[in-house]
Symmetry: C2
């Protein structure tokens, strides 16, 4: 059975909420409480989870640890994932610095750039390699995920090259529409989309700062 | 009528798809086609839009330009939005460099840091100011959105300070759970969540790179 992508996108949110509950030693949680924390209806949570089997007992809620383990298994978060970063400009360096990947099992094991001034540089225990050597390097040291932090003009070429090297998931920071073939996953980091839904809520509060666009 | 946040979150996606169609001079689009482009059911699109009135005629599809104008008005994207950035480390500099904000009406008009070495520095036409002067600076030059690119340890303090200055929306890059009071919008940029739903799709393809976590 094909599971809708929006369902898959919600599972990490469920896992995160359950992790927080587990950290506070909670043993059981209702779909009602989980829903309130995540702004999702309890019916939606029950429906989403029903794709993967039967969890929890009617009226008794979910066992936090068991459901969390199960979600980790479903999502593949019980594994270590290896990533290659392409682009070590300002953004790429910020990504290498990012403290959120490692605790969740994601590790950047290679970094590439096109700029001769950056190639050979040591950043965060990695030596920056030449993008021209992508194929050779990744055949010896394969990765699961490619992180794209290059200028918009070359983003598609870099994505194509990573996929040629066997990378099956792309985390794309380039502010441009790009394509991947079927079977390849891509998620874009899109700060503008996040801003655009917040403006709905703040647009009518009448701050002097917001002026009509002409 | 209270409109569910998930509906509001989908509107920018609809607007983006319509912009692309408009750029290709398409005049009409069906909910079917829009749905296929966005991986949302046509029924969902019709239901989402029905919160805001009647768009399109039965069996005739939506007028691209009219629906796009309407979504821009609903979301407040026909306005210019002013933003203040706090934190001009690697990530903050990458955000200042980001080319995606301005074309959508979002402009960073102030930048702050706590580091004396950075205060006074000129970056992208802005002079970095002292976070201690946040209140004074933003009372003279008010902003709608605060962008938080500071270390996790001080993220909550910075968010609290921005809200005290009248900021009503926070774009939060700090990798940590933070709180805002009711009525204040916050979106987190979360690369890990994006990775965690992609692993679902790639976990079973058996790359040698993914090894069991022990």
């Amino acid at each position: 059975m094909e599971i809708p992508p929006v369902v898959i996108d919600r599972l990490p949110l469920y896992a995160r909420a359950l992790s927080m509950l587990e950290a506070r030693e909670r043993e059981v949680v209702s779909s009602q409480e989980l829903g309130t924390r995540l702004d999702v209806t309890p019916a939606q949570i029950r429906k989403d989870l029903s794709y993967f089997g039967r969890f929890g007992k009617q009226g008794r809620g979910y066992n936090v640890r068991k459901l969390l383990d199960e979600l980790h298994r479903i999502l593949g978060l019980d594994k270590q994932w290896r990533m290659a970063l392409v682009g070590v400009g300002k953004l790429g360096r910020a990504i290498l610095d990012y403290q959120g990947f490692a605790p969740q099992g994601f590790r950047i094991v290679e970094a590439f750039d096109t700029d001769p001034k950056r190639i050979g540089e040591q950043i965060s225990n990695l030596t920056v390699k030449n993008v021209e050597d992508l194929q050779r390097v990744l055949s010896q040291n394969p990765v699961d995920v490619g992180i794209v932090a290059v200028p918009a003009e070359i983003a598609q070429d870099i994505i194509d090259a990573l996929i040629k090297c066997g990378v099956r998931a792309i985390l794309n920071y380039a502010p441009i529409a790009t394509r991947v073939p079927p079977g390849i996953q891509m998620k874009r980091i899109e700060p503008v989309l996040a801003l655009q839904s917040m403006t709905y809520y703040i647009k009518n509060a009448g701050r002097p700062a917001a002026s009509a666009r002409s």
